[in-house]
Amino acid sequence: MSTIHEVLKISNISKIYQAKNGEVEALKNINLTVNEGEFVSIIGPSGCGKSTLLSIIAGLEEKTSGKIYINKEEIVGVSRKIGYMLQKDSLLEWRNIYQNIMIGLEIQGIKNKENEAYVDELLKKYNIYEFKNKFPSQLSGGMRQRVALIRTLAIRPQILLLDEAFSALDYQTRMLVIKDVYQILKNENKTVLMVTHDLSEAISMADRVVVLSNRPSHIKTIHDIEFDMENRDPMNCRENPKFSKYYENLWKELDINA
């Protein structure tokens, strides 16, 4: 590795919601950088605004103040450099798998030979090629999520945002999909920022875990996650003794009072 290259930089992001019965301060002075190839996970108590933060980075929601940079360039609104994966796969049931994957390229008007070849390569590499003429209803939940990931990767984003991307799946499928997605993302050397409410999901995938506080939320701490093991994957690192240590620390950090 040569120099560390920072892909995403968020600087002083704040968000105040205007509601009928007053103002709600959701985010307060959030500063964060995500480096190339890094997997950063954001956790926080429910309702603290972690999804809001992702929506703001993706340009789907307005920020009250602050700036967002991708590769040192400021972005405003929806950026084509960002891929966003949501909780639901939202595959369109009237399109076949291939057409579903092409929708991003279609919308951005970049459906050309080069990108089509790239999609074909992804389809082949991740064993979707044989399903490409099937319809979403014919696929299992895990497979659908993989298709949703490829759909996001098709536009070659600089950074991927995962918003509770696995919480709609049942436990067993979730374990498999997490491993699957993790391997694809590492394989493609993607930079990822993931929001989750699931501590073990965060620890098992991330290189760094960011803990947000209650509203108005700010960054409480950032933990480096290291397992010192070869071929780390979200399954095997759960058995590492350090896993429960991290879990305990983060749980205390979250400071949840029922």
């Binding site: 929806v78 950026s79 369109l92 076949n96 929708i103 919308i107």
Partner: protein
């Protein structure tokens, strides 16, 4: 089915399903025949007055002389008016629904007006329509349009507004414009809404056309029914009513056929 050796249980079950279906159809046919036969016999035996009730053989007779007594032309007129009313109601309804979906402001402003117009019995507008567009075919078509339009707008707008928010969010993350959201998500997601509204509309347009013909026309099945009633020619009235129900059934079935065609090509391969 896939397996060749079907179990006895399965055979029994399949047989039972077929038998049930056949029994229902046979009973339906029997009820119809019994009704017609009773009607005919009672009329012949002077138990009921066929001057007031008409009778099947006379209806059949009128029906047979279709080409001579101008019935065919009347059927044509009614069908033409219904189809024009139906098409314009559907197209206009969809266009207005798209406009209201596009502009939240317009849809909020128009909401109370649409609700009031929807509950207003449109036949009450008859005299106004006649004065505005003149007594004749245009008035009848406008009548059909007024009955189907508001329902179409409300139903399609409702379908549009209930489109899966997650799907819309998904295309927004790719930077979709409002037009792209409309053409790539909202319209294809609402194919079944369109078809439902077609089904409702075809019936409503026919209601509009017949009530329009009651009020103004010189031709059409509605005109025949009113005319037949006034001159006490119940044969003509009954024949027209029966033809009308046939026309309604054929039109509805064509929409169902269209539905099958669309779902076949659009949703599944």
């Amino acid at each position: 089915m896939r397996e060749k050796n079907i179990s006895m249980e399965r055979k029994k079950y399949l047989k039972k399903v077929t038998r049930n279906r056949v029994t229902v159809i046979l009973t339906q046919i029997f009820v119809l025949i019994a009704f017609i036969a009773t009607w005919e016999i009672c009329a012949n035996a002077n138990i009921i007055d066929s001057f007031i009730t008409s009778q099947p053989s006379r209806i059949l007779n009128t029906f047979m002389n279709l080409s001579q007594n101008g019935l065919l032309e009347h059927i044509g007129v009614t069908c033409f008016e219904t189809i024009i009313g139906f098409l314009s109601g559907t197209v206009l309804g969809i266009i207005i629904a798209i406009i209201l979906w596009w502009s939240k402001f317009l849809s909020k402003v128009s909401e109370p007006f649409l609700v009031v117009l929807n509950s207003l019995p449109k036949v009450a507008l008859g005299p106004v329509i006649i004065i505005w567009v003149g007594a004749g075919m245009p008035a009848i078509i406008v009548m059909a349009l007024s009955i189907s339009l508001i329902v179409t707008i409300l139903e399609i707008l409702n379908g549009f507004l209930n489109t899966d928010k997650e799907k819309i969010k998904m295309v927004k993350t790719f930077g979709a414009s409002k037009l792209q959201i409309l053409t790539k998500i909202v319209i294809p997601a609402n194919i079944s809404t369109f078809i439902n509204s077609l089904k409702v509309n075809i019936g409503l347009s026919l209601v509009g056309v017949i009530s329009g013909e009651f009020l103004v026309s010189k031709a059409g099945l509605g005109y025949l029914i009113v005319y037949g009633g006034q001159v006490f020619q119940l044969d003509l009235v009954m024949t027209s009513v029966i033809i009308l129900s046939l026309v309604a059934a054929i039109m509805y079935e064509s929409v169902v056929l269209l539905e099958k065609l669309i779902t076949k090509t659009h949703i599944m391969n």
